[in-house]
């Protein structure tokens, strides 16, 4: 091989170009309206508090606490507001509380979690395969 760098860079360029086309297709199919101004502010709160170290969104993040992708859809606005206003203990700790948020940050974070829960994810997270337990009925 006389000029390997040319070949390697050519292969890299073709791969990156095709990948860029796929990314372009991906991003043009995303609804930009999903994230409003308040949700964008909520994302900043999410980032500044380092929530990703314990929680995950879209399954990406920490493993210590629940994935919050569908939390808004499951828990609802009031439950979330109460949680952030008066945070409970962080399981399994008996001493450490979950971080609380200010009155300004609470609606922003809720809007962010609402927006995240509205993004279509090809039916992920999956519903449990086994039927729910009927004990106690």
């Amino acid at each position: 091989m006389k000029r390997p760098l040319v070949y390697v860079l050519a292969l890299s360029s073709i791969s990156v170009l095709l990948f860029a086309l796929l990314i372009y297709h991906f991003t043009t199919n995303i609804d930009p309206q999903t994230i409003g101004t308040e949700a964008a502010a909520g994302k900043k709160v999410w980032e500044s508090k380092g929530c990703i170290e314990c929680h995950a969104v879209f399954g990406n993040g920490g493993y210590a606490a629940p994935d919050l992708t569908k939390t808004f859809a499951v828990r609802g606005e009031n439950w979330l507001a109460d949680f952030f206003r008066d945070p409970p203990m962080r399981r399994p700790s008996n001493k450490k509380r979950h971080l609380g948020l200010s009155d300004k940050e609470i609606p922003e974070m809720i809007q962010y979690l609402r927006s995240v829960s509205q993004i279509r994810l090809l039916d992920w997270p999956p519903a449990p395969i086994l039927p729910p337990s009927r004990e106690g009925e």
Binding site: P4, I35, K43, E47, F58, L122
Partner: protein, 490 residues
């Protein structure tokens, strides 16, 4: 007992020390004659540019083991007293795991690039300047994280203005390599150089967009995986595997043609597989369905690249271990470990998890964490340690204490990593079944995983102990040989 046997014993007792005394120099000469240094390529003064990079990288690696173990303990015993919160500790752990291999890879890059280019580096001053830019930026990143300043993006927690320092260091690295490439007139193919330079350019290209934070979480994840996946599994691989070939060529110089052919195949598969297999991270982030088959198919191609790497190791790692120096045996043992982790942890486990219908259930469980540990510390980390150990122990005979510490450290390091990963795999399988299949709540499932996570923390402690022993041996060798001159390139 008769007189005759007594005389024979006396004869043996008298002559044995003489035989040993006479044979020792022969043994010593034989070892010197068969040492790979005899076949080693010409030394260039600018190869010393690699020393501060490799030395600092292994020091950070030692800190990494300790921080990770404390974090794993905090996860299972959250009420233990700790000077920092769990989220700060994890952010530091992730950043250490990104930047020490990058720093070590830069050192390996400089050393083996010069060797293969058969000419000195374009600028040694630039290389030293780049080292201090990187080191100061890295120090600032860790300090900022300790003080609670985070960008809040997993693996990319460094504040944007500090990421600029890393980008500057990468620009200097690429520039120095490119100028050296331009002036080089090697007597053999430039394939190893091309692999390293392309890897370096890719790292820079993938890091720059991550200077920005994107409002839409889907786009944010698209860009984030250019570093989290592409840099780790393609760009660093290109740089490190090409440098690894440069190392193997020292031990097996007659196999140059064969190793270069295998490397060429590896480079093609690593680029194609590495770029498009990023798709397996795009399955559930709000993408369209085509990523399901793109990610799945190209993850298989990525696995083929890893099998080619295994073949490269098989062809390149010499078998005449008895004739090698202790330090070189250690170097090759590290290289072999890296290949095993490449095949088993990064490759097989990664491929199984990339099957879309399986990934639907395993995604976000401890299986992902097991894969990350095996790929980052096992595959990439061991490869960086391979190069760093060679560079730091070159032309130095290890003392008895250093041999014991380095080999026991190497074995304990591997035992710790295997224990840790096995527990994470068991926890991941259980978590998938209980959480995803039966529908048990996340925290209830997590409580049931606790025994496995405690053993995982013990594995982490073992890893940290091995890490400490290994690095202490490397530090004493380097210090004995160079002292503070390790930071002086000229």
């Amino acid at each position: 007992m008769t007189a005759m046997p007594r005389r024979r014993w006396l004869h043996i007792l008298v002559t044995l020390p003489a035989i040993l005394y006479r044979s020792l120099p022969h043994l010593f000469r034989r070892r010197q004659r068969q040492s790979p240094e005899h076949n080693a390529p010409k030394e260039y003064p600018s190869q010393k540019a690699a020393l501060p990079y490799c030395f600092t990288a292994v020091l950070i690696f030692a800190v990494q083991g300790l921080v990770a173990t404390l974090g794993a303990l905090d996860l299972v015993f959250p009420d233990l007293p700790s000077p920092i919160s769990f989220q700060v500790g994890r952010a530091i752990h992730l950043n250490l795991s990104v930047y020490w291999p990058l720093l070590g890879s830069m050192g390996m890059g400089y050393y083996f690039f010069v060797q293969e280019a058969q000419t000195d580096l374009h600028s040694r001053t630039l290389a030293l300047g780049q080292f201090w830019v990187f080191a100061l930026t890295f120090g600032s990143i860790i300090t900022a994280l300790l003080l609670g300043y985070t960008a809040g993006r997993e693996y990319l927690e460094a504040l944007p203005m500090l990421k600029l320092g890393i980008i500057l260091a990468l620009v200097l690295f690429c520039y120095n390599l490119a100028r050296t490439y331009a002036k080089a007139k090697p007597s053999h193919s430039r394939l190893v150089l091309a692999g390293m330079l392309t890897g370096a350019l890719f790292i820079l290209a993938q890091y720059v967009p991550n200077l920005f934070s994107f409002v839409h979480p889907s786009i944010e994840n698209v860009v984030r995986f250019w570093v989290v996946h592409m840099t780790e599994e393609m760009s660093l691989e290109l740089l490190d595997i090409s440098a690894f070939v440069g190392l193997l060529l020292i031990f097996s110089p007659k196999r140059r043609t064969s190793l270069q052919r295998i490397l060429a195949v590896n480079i093609v598969l690593t680029i194609i597989g590495g770029v498009f297999a990023t798709g397996h991270h795009y399955y559930w982030i709000g993408s369209t369905g085509e990523w399901l088959w793109i990610g799945g198919v190209f993850s298989f191609i990525q696995m083929l690249g890893i099998l080619v790497l295994a073949y490269l190791g098989y062809r390149g790692i010499p078998t005449n271990w008895q004739e090698l120096r202790q330090a070189d045996r250690l170097v090759l043992a590290l290289g072999g470990s890296s290949i095993v982790y490449h095949v088993a942890g990064a490759g097989m486990l990664g491929l199984i998890m990339s099957i879309p219908e399986w990934n639907r259930y395993t995604h976000g469980t401890y299986l992902t964490s097991a894969h990350a540990h095996l790929a980052l510390f096992g595959a990439v980390g061991m490869l960086v340690l391979t190069g760093a150990t060679y560079i730091l122990t070159k032309q130095t005979e290890l003392t008895r204490s250093e041999i014991i510490r380095s080999w026991s450290g190497f074995l304990i390091l591997n035992a710790g990593l295997l224990l840790m990963s096995t527990m994470l795999i068991i926890a991941g399988v259980l978590q998938t079944y209980l959480w995803r299949v039966t529908g048990m709540g996340f925290m209830d499932t997590h409580a049931l995983l606790r025994p496995y996570l405690i053993i995982r923390a013990a594995g982490g402690a073992l890893f940290a102990l091995g890490d400490f022993l290994f690095v202490s041996a490397l530090v004493t060798v380097t210090w004995r040989r160079l002292g503070l001159r390790v930071f002086v390139i000229h």
